[in-house]
C-alpha cells in the first residue's frame, strides 16, 4: 500500500478495529467464568478492581492484580494470545515509551543507579525514576487489561443496559444504545463511499485532495444522517414510541454472583491494607 494512501489506511484501520470488536463479542458468547456472571454484578466487581488499581501505590500489588486478571482471562476461555495482543499493543506500549525519559535524572532526580555517557552527554538512571516509570507502566497495563476484559466478556448491549440500571439519565442511555448501532451503519456508508471514489479516481491522492475527500465524506455523512434521523423517528413512532423509552431488565443475580462480589470486596480491603502496610 502506498505511503500516502491515508484514506485507505483509515478505512482499513477502522474496519479491522470494528471486526476485532465483533470478534470480541464472540468471546462474550463463550461459556466461561466471567461470561456466567450477572452483568450488573460483574460490572461492579470490575469497577472495584479498577478503583483498587487506581488507589494502589505498590508495584507488587499491581503485579498480583495483573496475574489475577490473566487468571480470569484463562478461566473465561479467552485466548491469552488474543488478550495480550489486544491489551499490550496500543496504550501500554505507548505508555512504556512515554515512561522511558522519566527514568533519567533530568526528569526524576534522585539516587543514581546507572551512570553512562553517550558522546559528551552523561546519563543517570535514578532509583526513583525507574520505580516511578515501572509503577506507571504496571498501573496502565493492569487498568487497561481489566477494562478490556470487562468489555470482551460482556455482550455490548448488556453493558449498555447496565448503565440504565445504574440510574444513568435516560437520555444518555437511549443515545448510547442507538448510537452503538449507527456507528456500524456509518462505517459501512463510508466504506461504500470510499469504494466508489477508489473505483473512479484510483488509489493515490495528494495531501490537498485527500483533505478535501475526508472533509467531503464527513459533510456528506452529516447530510445523510440528518435525513436518516427523520426516517428513524417515523420507524420509532410506528413501533409505539410515545416519547418515553422502556428498557427490559432481565438480569438475575444468583448466590454465585454475590459470593464473587463479596470476595472482590474482601480482596479490595486486603490490598488497601497491604498497600498501606507496604508503603
Amino acid at each position: 500500500m502506498k505511503k500516502n494512501n491515508f484514506v485507505e489506511r483509515s478505512i482499513l484501520g477502522t474496519l479491522s478495529f470494528l471486526k476485532e470488536s465483533i470478534f470480541a463479542d464472540e468471546y462474550a458468547l463463550k461459556k466461561g467464568f466471567l461470561q456466567s456472571l450477572d452483568p450488573r454484578i460483574k460490572t461492579i466487581i470490575f469497577l472495584i478492581f479498577i478503583l483498587q488499581i487506581l488507589f494502589t501505590g505498590n508495584i507488587f500489588v499491581l503485579l498480583y492484580l495483573y496475574a489475577l486478571c490473566l487468571l480470569l482471562t484463562f478461566i473465561s476461555k479467552i485466548s491469552l494470545g488474543f488478550f495480550l495482543k489486544r491489551t499490550w499493543v496500543f496504550i501500554p506500549l505507548f505508555s512504556f515509551f512515554i515512561a522511558i525519559p522519566a527514568i533519567f535524572s533530568i526528569f526524576t532526580p534522585g539516587e543514581a543507579l546507572v551512570v553512562f555517557q553517550i558522546a559528551n552527554f552523561k546519563f543517570i538512571i535514578t532509583r526513583q525514576g525507574l520505580s516511578s516509570a515501572s509503577l506507571f507502566v504496571a498501573r496502565v497495563i493492569t487498568s487497561v487489561s481489566f477494562g478490556v476484559l470487562l468489555s470482551i466478556t460482556t455482550k455490548h448491549f448488556e453493558l449498555l443496559k447496565v448503565l440504565r440500571i445504574f440510574r444513568i439519565p435516560q437520555i444518555f442511555v437511549m443515545t448510547l444504545g442507538m448510537c452503538y448501532r449507527y456507528i456500524y451503519l456509518f462505517i459501512e456508508v463510508i466504506q461504500n463511499t470510499y469504494l466508489g471514489i477508489k473505483s473512479r479516481c484510483g488509489n493515490v491522492f495528494s495531501v490537498k485532495k485527500g483533505q478535501g475527500i475526508v472533509a467531503w465524506n464527513i459533510a456528506s455523512l452529516w447530510q445523510r444522517s440528518y435525513v436518516l434521523h427523520q426516517d428513524v423517528y417515523d420507524a420509532m413512532l410506528s413501533r409505539g414510541y410515545t416519547g418515553e423509552s422502556k428498557t427490559m431488565d432481565e438480569f438475575h443475580a444468583t448466590f454465585k454472583d454475590w459470593f464473587w462480589l463479596g470476595l472482590t470486596i474482601l480482596i479490595f480491603g486486603l490490598s488497601l491494607w497491604q498497600n498501606h502496610y507496604l508503603n
Binding site: 516509570a133 468489555s151 443515545t175 449507527y182 456507528i183
Partner: protein, 227 residues
Amino acid sequence: MHIPDGYLGPTTCGFFYIVMLPIWALASKIVKKTLKARQVPLLAIGAAFSFVIMMFNVPIPGGTTGHAVGGVLVAILLGPWAACIAITVALVIQALLFGDGGITAIGANCFNMGFVLPFSGYYIYKVISFNSSVYSARRVIAAGIAGYIALNIAAGLTGFEFGIQPLLHKTLSGKALYCPYGLNAALPAMLGEHLLVFGWVEAIVTALVVKYLQKQSPELLEEREVA
C-alpha cells in the same frame, strides 16, 4: 487526547467526575426541554458521527496524518449542550467497548473533549462569524479558527492535568505514583503536538466541512433547535 486509566490519580479522577455530574445533569435537562421528540434520534446520530470523525485520519504536509476530535463541528451542527451529550456518549462507548480512554478518566476526558472543547469552540465560532450569512466565507474561517483554538485549549488542559500529578501524588522518596512528568514537561509536550499538528487537523476538518455544507445543505448550518 484520550486519557487512559493509570495516568491520573484518584483525586483528579474524582474531581472531574464531581465537576461533570452537574454539567451532565444540566445538559440532560436543557436538551430534554428543548429537544423535540422528532430530534431524539438526531442526538444518537450526532454521537455516532462524533465517534466516526475521531476515526478519520487527515493528511498533513510532511507525510504525517492525525485525527480530528470534531467537537467544534458537532457543537456548530447541534448546539453546545447537545454536543456535550453526543461527545460524552461517543467517549463512553470508546472507553467501555473499545478501551480507548480510561474508565476512571471518563470524567476528565468528558470535561476536556465533551465540555471545554465544544463550548469554547462554539462561542469562538459565534463571536467570529457574528451574524454573518450562512454562505459567507467568514463562517468557514470562524470554524477553522474555533477548531484550532478550542482543540489547543483542551490539549493544554490535558497537559495541565498530567503535569499536576507528581505534585498531587508523590511518595516521600520522590517516586511519582501516576503520570511521572511535571508541568514543565507535560504542558509543552501536549501543547506542542497540538499547536503544530492536531490543531491544524481540527481546523482543516471543521472549516472544510462547513464549506462543503454551505454548498450542499446550508440549512444544516442554521441555528439548531437542539439546545
